[in-house]
Amino acid sequence: MKKFFSNKKLIGLLITVILFITVLSLSFNRMGNIPFFQTITNDVTGVFGRLFEAPIRAVDGLFSKVNNLQDTYIENQRLKKEIDRIGEVQAENQAIRQENEKLKEELELQATLTEYEKITATVIARNPDKWLDIVVIDRGSTDGLKVGMSVLGGKGLIGRITEVNPTSSKVMLLTHAEQQAVQTSAEVTTEDGETIYGVITHYDPQRKQLIMDRITSDATIEEGTSVVSSGLGGVVPRGLLIGEVAEVSMDEHGLSQQIYVTPTEDFDQIRFVTVISRNARTVNENEFSKEEEPNE
C-alpha cells in the first residue's frame, strides 16, 4: 500500500502520462500551417534520413569511383588541352561581361528574368503514398530557401517549394494530382519563331505526361519542340526546361489546342535537386507570402 502510493513515483507517473498525452495531442493537432512540433519532426527525420543515406551513398560511390578512374585519366588529358584555352576564353568573357553590364545600364535593366542563384540539395524523403506529389529536401530556411522557389532536377523543372523548415523543405512536384499550387506558365516556340504561351495545368498519370493548355493561338506546333517556363508569372524564372512536345491535340471541346508534354525529368528518380532563387523582382514577387494570408 505504502509502496504503491509513494509520492515520487506517483507524481513521476502522472507527469509522464501528461507529457505523453501532450506530445500526442500536439502532433495530432495541426493548427496553423507548419506547427512547431512538425518542424522538429521534419528536421529530426531529416537528420536520420541523412544518417542512413550517407553510408549507402559512400558504398555506392566507391564502385563508380573505380570505374570513373579510367575515364578520369582520359578526360584529364583532354582537359589539360582545354585549360590552355581557358585563359583566352576568360579574357573574352571578361570583355563580354563588361559590355553586357554597360548595355544593361544603358537599358536600365536592373535584373533580367533569367537571372537567378542556384542552391543544390539532396532528396531525403519521399512518401510512397504521395510519390508523385511531394519530395523532402535537405535544405531549409537557414540556406535561404523560401516558399515558391522553383526546383530543378538534373535536367529540368520538377516543381516548387511549398513548405520551408529550418533545415528541410517540401517540394511539390509538377506531377501533383491537384496542380493548383504548382501551375506553371510555359512557352513553346514554333518554327516560324512565334512564341506560344500556355499553362501546365494537369498531369496525366497514365500517359506520364504533363498537359499544357490555355493556348489561344492556332499556330502549328511541331512535336519534339522544347517546352520551357515562360517567366511571365513572376514566380518561376524564365527558360527552365520542362519537357518536349509529345502530342498536340484539341481539347475535349475542340475549342483550343492542348499540348501533351513529355517531362525531361524522370519523376521516379529524383535524388539531387537544384533550388532556384529568383533575383529579378517583378510586380508581384513576395506579394502573397503566407504571412499575409488573413485567414490563417
Binding site: 500500500m1 505504502k2 502510493f5 509520492n7 506517483l10 502522472l14 502520462v17 501528461i18 498525452i21 500526442l24 495531442s25 495530432f28 493537432n29 491537384e178 493548383q180 499550387a181 501551375q183 506553371t184 506558365s185 504561351y197 499553362v199 495545368t201 493548355d213 490555355r214 493556348i215 489561344t216 515562360s230 517567366g231 511571365l232 508569372g233 513572376g234 514566380v235 518561376v236 491535340s249 484539341m250 481539347d251 475535349e252 471541346h253 475542340g254 475549342l255 483550343s256 510586380v283 508581384n284 506579394e287 502573397f288 494570408e293 488573413p294 485567414n295
Partner: protein, 698 residues
Amino acid sequence: MVAKQNKQKDSKSHVPFRLNLLFFIIFVLFAILIIQLGFLQIIRGEDFKAEVQRTESTIIQGNVPRGEIYDAHLKKIVGNEATNAIIYTRGKNTEAKTMATTASRLSKIISLPHVTELENEEKKDLTIRDLKDYYFAAHQEEMEERIENYVHKNKINSNNFDYEDQLELIKESDLERMHDEELNAAAIYKKMNSAYALSAVNIKNKDVTSEEMAAVAENAEYLPGVNTSTDWERVYPLDDMLRSVLGTVSTEKQGLPESQLNAYLAKGYSRNDRVGTSLIELQYEDVLRGTKSRLQTEVNASGDIIKQVERYAGEKGDNLVLTIDTEIQKRFDEVALNTLAQRQGLNDSVYITAINPKNGDIIAMSGKKIVKGEIEDDALGVFQNSFTMGSSVKPATVLSGYLDGVISVDNNVIVDMPLQFQGSENISSVYNRHGVKYLSDIQALAESSNVYMAMLAMRMGGYYDYKPNEFLPIDAEETIAKMRKYNRQFGLGSPTGIDLPNESIGQPGEVTNAGQALFNAFGQFDTYTPLQHAQYAATIANGGIRYAPRLVREIRGTNPDTGELGALKTKIEPKILNEINVSKEAFNRVHQSMWQVANGSLGLTPAVFRGAPYTFAGKTGTAEAYYWGENESMRGTPVYNMTFIGFAPYDDPEIAVSVVVPYLPSGYLGTIHVETIRNAMDAYFGVGRFGSHTSSDE
C-alpha cells in the same frame, strides 16, 4: 502498555492513511482527467478534427462551348474562338472580406478596365455603390468601428441599422482617396460578388494578356477560388452573311432572358449562361447548348472551396449543318446589291429566295434593305415582311380552279373581255383593254390575263354567266375564304413551317366588297412573305408537294482530334406539309404556260432569258400596291411591287426561286425583277457573269 502501543500504532498509521487516501483520490481524479483527455484527443480526436474540417462535396456545372454552324458544303459560318479567361468560383458562404482580400491581391497582377461614376457619370461601369461595397469589404475593421461609434453616438438600436445605412457612413472623400489599384480591385470585386455560391463567373475574358494568365496561374494558391480558364466567343468567318437569320447569343452579363427565366432554370441553365436569343441560335438552342461539365467540388466547414476535380468534361454543343450554300448565298447577295443599286422611287429592299423543290432545302435567302442610307442584311425580311405579289400568284389561281372543279383539262377556255360591275371596280387584262378574246388556261397564264383569273374567282363564288354592269352576285367572304383555303395549300397565307421562330404569315386583306375576291385572283389583295412566295414556287415546280422550307439539314458532333465537324448525329428528314390534289396534266399545263413566259414570243421576259444555258420557266407579277415601308411619312403612296417566281431546269427542277422588288414607282415599266431572277439563276448555275470565276473576291 498494549493500549499505549496500540494508541501509538493507531496514531502512527492514522495520519499517513488519510494522507494516502487524499493522494489516492487525487490520483484517481487525475487519472480520470487524463483518461478523458486521452479519450478526447486520441480516440475521438480524429472525429472532432473531421468535424472541424468537415467538407461537403457538391457538383458544380461548368460551361462548355456552344455548337457551331456550317453551310451545305461544311464551310464554317458561325464558329467559336478560344479566349483566355480568369474565372472565380465562389465558395458556399465566402465572406465579403475574404473576397475583398482576393480582389486586392488579384488587382496587383491583372488590370480590369473600368470607369467609375466619379470619373464619368455617363459611361460608368463602376457605380459609387460598387465602390462603397468594396470599401466596406476591404476595410471591415474600420467600418465596424465607425458603425459602433455612430450607433453609440446617436443611440440607435444596431438591429435597425442595416447594410444600406451602414454604407452611408462611407464618405465620398473616402472613395476619392482610393488609388488606381484599389479601384481596379473594386472592379474585380464587383465581378466576384456577382457570382452565386458555388458557381463560376468570368472576372476577365477579354484581352487577357499572357502575363496575366501566367501570374494568375502561378499564384493561384494564394487566390482562393480564382483560376485560369479557356472561354469562347462567337466568331463569324463570313462576316455579315446571313447575320440577320443566324440570330444572336446573349452575353454573360445579359444571361438568361428574363421573360423565360424559370423555364431555363428548370432546364438546368445557370443565370449567367449564354443562350441563343433569336432565330437559328434560339430555334436550335437545345442542340447548340451542349452538356455542361461537372466538377466535383469539396467545400470545407467555412464554405471555402478546397478541391475541384473534373468528373465529366461535358460535351460541346452539337453543330448544325445548314442547307444554305454560302457560295450561292454570296452570289445572291451580290445580285441583290446590284439590284438595289438600280433602285427607283421608294424601292428600298429586295428579296431573293431559292428553295430546292425536291426537299424544301433553302439554298439561299438573300434580303437587302436600306436603313437610313445604309445597306443592311435583311434575310430576316424574307420570312417576316409581306407584300402584295401581283400576277405571280396566278398559277395558284388556275390550279385553285382545277381544285374547285370550275375548270378542267378538257374545259378551260374562258372569254377575256373588260369586266364592268355595279359597285365594284372594273377589271381588264393589261394586254386586252377593249376586245374579246378566247383563252385557254395556258394562254391566260402566258399572257397574264386578269379577267381570266377574275372569272375563275366568280365561278368559285358560283357566278358563271357574266353580264356587264351587274352587281356581283357572289358572297365575298365565302368566296375569298375558299380561295384562301386553296392558296394556303401552296403556302400562300399559311405558315411555311420553316425551322425559325416568329415567322410572319402575311396579311389577309379585310373583306368589305365582293370585287376583292376578283382582285385576289390576280394577287392584288392578300399579302405574302417572300418565303411563302418561294415555297409556292417550289410546290408548283415539283408538281404539288408542299415541303416545309428548312435551314438545318443535319446535326453533327465535333471531331475530338481536330475540333472540326464530326460524325453525323441526326439527319433531319424533309417534311411534307401537304400534297395538292390536281392531276399531272393540269400541272403540266401550268408548267407549259410558265415556260411560255420565259421562253415564248410575248413580252420582255423572254428577251431577258434569251440564251440562258438552262431552261427556265416562271411567272412575273406586278402588284399595284401602297408603300408601307420604314419611311412613315410616305406610307400610303401608290407603288408597284415587281415579283417573279420560277424554276429550273424545266424538265427536272432543282431550284425554285422567288424575287420580290417592292415599292417601285407606280407605273414602272422596267424589268428589274426579271433581270434579278436571271442573275440569280445564272448565279446558281454558275454561268454568264458567274461562269468565269467562282467568287467575286477570290
